[in-house]
Symmetry: C2
Subunit: 260 residues, 2 copies
DNA sequence: AAAATATAACACCAAGGTGTTTTAATATGA
DNA sequence: TCATATTAAAACACCTTGGTGTTATATTTT
């Protein structure tokens, strides 16, 4: 069991509690107090804060994460999942980008982890519709940032729609780095039609395409098919991929690499 | 002389000190200590903080603002000037917007003050290229937010360029609310060509147009002519406008109003 | 009604911010 | 160049604030 690291601030502990709750679904207050080594009162206070933010729901003596469908696809929610794996994927993905190139990043959390790693590669042109990436890139000197506009979706913290698609159609970039919601067989899937539309446009606008995908997304499916893995020039996956899936990819001729 | 209002936090006082320094250019540490009613030591500490941020430069016994040309046109810099007047202008400007309409906001600091005031007017569609406005609007429920993409300019914390212009040309909105860098006679001027281009496109895309302009900008000029004040359906100015300018506007038939 | 859980009230503690005093560094004038 | 005055920095103590735990009171469950 992961020992709860000593939180040095209230906000941090609340984040840790939330992460823990996402993993286990729900918990008793007693257990949380013991696990994070604070009093019951403090747990109460933390959970009240989290529930005011709409992150959890309190019952009598227990809490559970607030898992409406809406929430589960929230940017804030997704950004808490498998953070370490995504960061490693992003780190390896960043190595595919070379100084002087133009890079297209999608709205995924994985891409937003990649953004700050591009600082060293200046001069560089980065194009993205993700607000999180934009916020990080705007502070980096030497990076030319092109923002993609469109209709803003809070669920993804990014802009989509016709306006966005048309803009992308006017671009041609060196490399596009995307993620996907699910992979079944050698097909990549995405939940939302608006997101699918933009990712497709991005793929068409790039000379090289890279897919970053967490192994936990394999064997699942989502509503919209984005592309085959063979359509990508490179697919990066973390080390948790099952042997069957590995064999499948090899047989299909997918150019993939497992990081670490 | 404006009495320095009691700051309730260190960061706030540092902001106030910076604002003061922007107004007066430079000052002795003694004067600052007296003016803000703190000890010399605290002034030292505040100024060290500000100089580490590159905002001011310390000399022996005095400070001056770090006024490179770059800095003077920075978004952060401009956003400190005449904050109160701009907020009042924004408040009155917000009254021109009606529930259910579509609103175009430019990249100005004045417009960014207007953004949070739109929360009550839902349902509402807001379209802007200013990151500051976007950040504020994205948290408001009931507001449909359309972001305008393009090449990001750190100087204005917003996106401009051909991509942005083309996007705007595909839009038609109820009302556009803009600001300008300077007004000479009845002509409104803007410093930067990229900004001018986008503001012009915004004017063309709107049925009603409103200009928010601080009285301190009258009698000055800037590189690019944006439009005549008569081209705007309404011009809002704070109460500091000189009688000569008032007469000039009246004679020219400008539909203007002085707030408060 | 009794047990369990939630909230409120209060006291305590740690951290950051401030002022005073002391010491170091820098500028000024002969 | 040196002595002196002025300013900067360091050290320390005080105060305020936000966070925490304990105890007491209220609420909910069973």
């Amino acid at each position: 069991m992961k020992k709860a690291s000593k939180a040095n601030s209230a906000a941090e502990r609340q984040q840790e509690i939330l992460t823990h709750l996402i993993e286990v679904g729900s918990s008793s207050l007693d257990d949380l107090a013991h696990r994070f080594d604070v009093s019951l009162m403090t747990v109460h206070r933390d959970l009240t804060t989290l529930s005011l933010q709409g992150m959890v729901v309190k019952h009598h003596g227990s809490v559970s994460i607030h898992s409406s469908n809406v929430f589960e696809s929230n940017f804030e929610f997704r950004s808490l999942l498998a953070v370490e794996e995504k960061k490693r994927l992003a780190a390896v993905g960043a190595q595919e980008v070379h100084s002087g190139e133009s890079v297209l990043l999608d709205d995924s959390t994985t891409a937003s982890f990649l953004a700050p790693l591009l600082a060293d590669l200046e001069p560089l042109t980065v194009i993205t519709n993700g607000l999180s990436s934009i916020e990080q890139l705007k502070t980096l000197p030497g990076i030319r940032l092109i923002t993609l506009g469109g209709e803003y979706y809070p669920k993804f913290n990014a802009s989509f729609g016709l306006l966005c698609e048309q803009t992308i159609q006017n671009l041609k970039v060196d490399i596009a780095i995307l993620s996907a919601s699910a992979v079944d067989g050698i097909e990549a899937y995405v939940q939302d039609p608006a997101v699918t539309q933009i990712k497709r446009a991005m793929l068409n606008a790039a000379r090289r395409t890279v897919l970053l995908v967490h192994s936990g997304k394999f064997g699942k499916t989502a509503l919209h098919r984005l592309a085959s893995l063979t359509d990508f020039d490179l697919v990066l996956i973390d080390h948790g991929l099952s042997p069957e899936h590995q064999r499948l990819l090899e047989e299909a001729g997918v150019n993939f690499r497992q990081v670490e």
